[in-house]
């Protein structure tokens, strides 16, 4: 330890003079330790060598091999029947099913989040009745299986013959209709998915609102900014940062969740491919068709998510991260510059 002490005390000497016995010889710490240098040396002409990471290369090679093997088997195993996949991928019936899936997702996603927003505001209000109604709603719809909800809505006609709107406890009716004619497969599907979605998104939105610092609300109130403006201009844009990742999780879940409406024999994507493979017995390739479409939708949504999140991170980060496009451009720009630079001196 005396060596360390010596070095701290006389860094200039120990660096380039053989250190006296008491410090050095035994421990082998004499000479050019990393970081030791002669004061006043000019390093500007030195060549720079990057640190080497051999194990990183080994890991990369192993993973690359694995990826290659999987791709190879996907491409060459005839049982995947890629020809059949290609044949059905853009078939009219499959595309129709896809459109239905997108329609269900869009409608019940939108309605679900609107209703969820209202439920979240109710939950955060000062009225105990609104709070408990909102809580109960979430409790019921989160605790019953979606499948059961769906079947229940579809069979509502069994429980209630007719649905009417009027003044309670009087004979005044504005609107009166047979339940079975009102609740089609589509209506039951939308109703089930929307209400279920609303229960979950209410919690997501509430969480987002709670994540915004209370001081923001106070500052806005102190400035006399009206309540509605306070929510839409000050709180929600900040809450969005917390809401978006989970909200996109939910929407992506919903895309695939729509496949559950096959129980209503509603011809969305999944039900359509089921009908086809029951006829043609090409089970795996057709499941692959549906899967690939789900992957496509999810990919598109993920791109949206990236840009929307980036939009709402304004002010939350000091500098916005580059978009993939900007990153690529920058990479090529600097890469080209480096290779040119490297070549020119030689």
């Amino acid at each position: 330890m005396s060596s360390a002490a010596t070095k701290v005390a006389r860094p200039d000497q120990s660096a380039h003079e053989p250190v006296p016995d008491e410090a050095g010889a035994g421990t082998g710490t004499t000479g050019n330790l990393p970081g030791q240098h002669q004061p006043g040396t000019d390093y500007s002409g030195y060549r720079l060598v990057a640190a080497k990471h051999p194990w990183r290369w080994v890991g990369t090679a192993v993973v690359a091999l694995g990826v290659l093997a999987v791709s190879w088997s996907l491409a060459t195993n005839p049982r995947w029947e890629w020809g059949v996949v290609a044949q059905w991928f853009t078939a009219r019936s499959v595309i129709n099913g896809l459109v239905e899936t997108l329609k269900l997702t869009a409608i019940s996603g939108l309605l679900g989040f609107v209703l969820g927003f209202i439920l979240a505001l109710m939950r955060l209000s000062a009225s105990p009745l609104l709070v408990s109604v909102s809580w109960t709603f979430s409790w019921i719809f989160r605790s019953t299986p979606l499948l059961v909800q769906m079947l229940l809505w579809y069979n509502l006609g069994y429980l209630y013959d007719r649905i009417s709107l009027g003044i309670p406890f009087t004979d005044v009716r504005f609107f009166d209709v047979q339940t079975t004619s009102l609740i089609s497969q589509f209506a039951a599907a939308v109703l089930g998915l929307t209400l279920n979605q609303a229960a979950y998104s209410a919690e997501i939105i509430r969480g987002g609102i709670l994540s915004v610092d209370h001081g923001q609300l106070e500052a806005a109130a102190a400035l006399g900014i009206p309540a509605w403006r306070r929510s839409t201009r000050i709180i929600l844009p900040q809450a969005m940062r917390a809401i978006l990742p989970t909200a996109f999780n939910e929407i992506i879940g919903l895309v695939k969740g729509t496949s559950i409406v096959y129980v209503l024999a509603y011809s969305e994507l999944f039900y359509t491919v089921q009908v086809i493979y029951n006829r043609t017995q090409q089970v795996l390739p057709l499941l692959l068709v549906a899967t690939l479409w789900y992957v496509v939708i999810t990919s598109v949504l993920s791109v949206f998510q990236y840009y929307i999140e980036r939009h709402y991170s304004k002010g939350a980060v000091r500098t916005l991260p580059l978009t993939p496009l900007q990153t690529a451009r920058k990479f090529f720009a600097t890469h080209a510059a480096v290779t040119q630079e490297a070549r020119s001196p030689r």
Binding site: E218, A222, L223, P226, Q238, K314
Partner: protein, 285 residues
């Protein structure tokens, strides 16, 4: 009790001079406030003259911040009342009854009372200029029309210039230093042209070397004729800028007087012991 404003008549800018001399009289009478079983304000009475600068000092938990927050009705009082130029804060007088104001009317009152927070509370997703120009466009204001966006931006730039940040107008709060953020917050509070400005420990969250840039802005304001009520731990600043220093402890005003009197000849033992703790020995009074 009466507090004279230190503002020289000539130094007031046109906008305050035009509103006449009775702008910004604050009368606090017997204000009480409890949180649960803890009574944090035990009957506070205080008058601040128009254009006066009152600095409230005292140990933490003495109710200083709560008192400040009752003035713009961020905290509702349990007893007593507060009036500004004769306008009762949070209530309306009809005959012999007091009616609690609705949210919209409270907002109107608040536009007369600017507030600067310890943690700035700038809106992080809006630029400095957007922070300053937001309220004048949307806040309901009695007797004044709302600004158009263009007007608010022009005025916003003027105010940012006044706090020395015109060139950072398009920066987001997170891109600014603490001192700069607090100066934007002051500009934001000024944008509504308030009669009164409340400062809740405006320099407590700042690095020591940034404190002065904020205090300098407040010093300038003290000369402008706006009534200022400041809660602070900066004793040197208090002595410098205050017309009156109020010492609070345990929800009560222990004593108040000129800075000269409070800092050199405190009458109460509690004041003396507090001051001896917060003022460094090297600091010569």
């Amino acid at each position: 009790m009466s507090i004279r404003t230190s503002a020289a008549p000539g130094s007031a800018p046109a906008e305050t001079a035009a509103s006449g001399p009775t702008r910004g009289l604050v009368e606090i009478t017997g204000v009480r406030k409890s949180f649960g079983t803890a009574e944090v304000l035990k009957g506070i009475s205080l008058t601040v003259d128009p254009g006066g600068v009152a600095v409230i000092v005292g140990p933490s938990g003495s109710g200083k911040s709560t008192l400040l927050r009752t003035i713009n009705h961020l905290e509702k009082v349990d007893g007593g009342y507060i009036s500004i130029d004769g306008m009762l804060v949070g209530y309306e007088v009809r005959g012999r009854t007091l009616h609690e104001l609705r949210e919209k009317d409270i907002l109107k009152q608040r536009t007369e009372i600017g507030m600067v927070f310890q943690n700035f509370n700038l809106f992080p997703h809006l630029t400095a200029l957007e922070n300053v120009a937001e309220a004048p466009v949307v806040a309901p204001r009695s007797g004044k029309v709302r600004s158009t966006k263009a007007e608010a931006r022009r005025r916003g730039l003027e105010l940012l210039d006044r706090v020395g940040l015109k060139d950072r107008a398009d920066a987001y709060p997170r891109q600014l230093s603490g001192g700069q953020q607090q100066r934007v917050a002051i500009a934001r509070a000024l944008a509504l042209d308030p009669k009164i400005l409340l400062f809740d420990e405006p320099t407590s969250a700042l690095d020591p070397e940034l404190v002065n840039e904020v205090l300098d802005v407040i010093r300038e304001l003290a000369k402008s004729g706006t009534t200022l009520i400041i809660v602070t731990h900066e004793m040197g600043f208090a002595r410098d800028v205050a017309d009156t220093v109020v010492f609070m402890d345990e929800g009560q005003i222990v004593e108040q007087g000129s800075p000269q009197q409070i800092f050199t000849r405190p009458r109460e033992e509690r004041t003396r012991s507090f001051l001896s703790k917060v003022i460094e020995p090297a600091f010569n009074i």
